[in-house]
């Protein structure tokens, strides 16, 4: 069955690596009192990281004035209709109609106002409208899977879409990505720039997925999982998910509160 000549790793081998790296990270966190919110860039279970991570430490510099600002996006850049991924074609897309909404906040809990949020995702069958996606699942002529929004004065955003399906990839044998929506975010400062993925609660693929697991702190990973919010569901129409996003900056680690004064 193998479509690739190189021997692909099994899920069990990948899962063992995931477990070892997480145990190492937990031991290091206990020793140093710092936890890493962001994923490891050098993360062997996700094969493509091998040649795409820097081997030198990042050089810490103070942000320059321009970097303490962000591009000024606004409603002249984004039509409010772009936040509805279900109305971009003549017909209704197939799948489970959902809304995903929440707030974009900075590290002090202040709203990030008037900033750009971009999303993209697979359709309900787990297929992207991308020429390089060769997964033999059907394309949906009524679904592209791209949206944009500008945050409100309270930092809020809301997308109406279809729940994306999980899909296979070729990181290892029988590798599947949990269902997710890609998010691209700008904060008030360019140093807060973030691209990430939002997941759905209770996905059985979480433990198996090296992209999700590249974040070694379980509490940090959890912050990527949206919450089902019955109050956001619309009767006889759509299920509601809520996901707040926090942009503190590019800092890779945070100190435990007792170390905060150091």
């Amino acid at each position: 069955m193998g479509r690739e000549s190189v021997v692909m790793q099994t899920q069990q081998q990948v899962s063992e690596q995931i477990g070892e790296i997480e145990a190492d990270a937990a031991a290091r966190a206990a020793q140093t009192g710092t936890r890493q919110a962001h994923p490891l860039r050098d993360y062997p279970p996700y094969r493509s990281t091998e040649l795409r991570h820097p081997t030198h430490d990042l050089v810490r510099v103070d942000p320059e004035e321009i970097e303490r600002l962000s591009p000024a996006f606004g409603h002249s850049d984004v039509d409010p209709l772009e936040a509805d991924l279900t109305i971009q074609h003549a017909g209704e897309p197939l799948g489970e109609r959902i809304t995903v909404g929440g707030r974009v906040l900075d590290g002090e809990g202040r709203p990030v106002r008037g900033q750009l949020v971009e999303v993209w995702q697979a359709n309900s069958a787990g297929r992207y409208v991308h020429k390089r996606d060769q997964h033999p699942a059907p394309l949906d002529p009524h679904f592209t899977g791209v949206g944009r929004a500008i945050t409100g004065d309270d930092g809020s955003y809301l997308f109406r879409t279809i729940k994306p399906g999980p899909y296979p990839w070729r990181n290892h044998r029988n590798a599947w990505r949990p269902a997710h929506i890609h998010f691209s975010l700008f904060g008030d400062q360019f140093t807060q720039r973030l691209v990430t993925q939002m997941y759905f609660p209770g996905d059985p693929l979480f433990a198996l997925d090296p992209i999700y697991q590249s974040i070694t702190d379980p509490a940090a990973r959890e912050r990527l999982v949206g919450r089902y919010d019955h109050d956001a569901s619309v009767s006889e129409f759509s299920l509601g998910y809520r996901w707040d996003i926090v942009l503190t900056g590019s800092r890779a680690t945070w100190m435990e509160p007792e170390d905060a004064d150091e």
Partner: protein, 170 residues
């Protein structure tokens, strides 16, 4: 204190979502002060990275940060300071912009296999403007090299020989 939402890789399938018309044209090419800033993105084996996204954020020619909208809907005149380019099959990206009055442009790199984006800066005026924290033997990696009429080359090496200096902010 709220806690940072972690990064995840941009993955391989962003091309139909993030690039937009005029994204790489911060300034019209026929402007007298227009420059080209371009280069290759290379991985640890020196192979081109054909599925990277590079963004630029910079001051205008006078050194001021633009507060103008219109980065996504270009009108061909306003300088907003932001641009977005994808690499082509040869791993090459390019922007049309102006020389930033501050002497540098901030770049951010996203790619499949990169779990968390990387910041760097392209400096146009020589090494003296670089932050002191950049080690002596790696300073040249932050220099945009003139390679033609109003053209500057800035290669981004993700790993290995000549690895670009990537930055983090406190």
């Amino acid at each position: 204190m709220s806690e940072q939402t972690p990064s995840q890789t941009i993955g391989p399938f962003f091309h139909y979502a993030l690039p937009y018309a005029g994204g790489a044209q911060l300034a019209a090419g026929h402007r007298a002060d227009a420059i080209r800033l371009h280069g290759s993105v290379l991985d640890g084996a020196g192979a081109p990275v054909a599925d990277a996204l590079v963004e630029i954020w910079q001051a205008d020619a006078a050194g001021a940060a633009s507060r103008r909208r219109g980065s996504l809907q270009r009108d061909g005149f306003a300088f907003t300071g932001f641009g977005r380019a994808t690499t082509d099959l040869a791993g090459h990206y390019g922007f049309t912009t102006v020389l930033p009055g501050t002497g540098f442009a901030t770049l951010v790199l996203f790619a499949r296999g990169l779990t968390h984006h990387l910041f760097t800066r392209a400096y146009f005026g020589g090494e003296s403007a670089l932050p002191a924290a950049v080690p002596a033997d790696r300073r040249a990696t932050l220099l945009a090299e003139p390679d033609g009429d109003r053209s500057y080359r800035f290669d981004i090496r993700m790993q290995g020989e000549g690895e670009t200096v990537f930055l983090e902010y406190p």
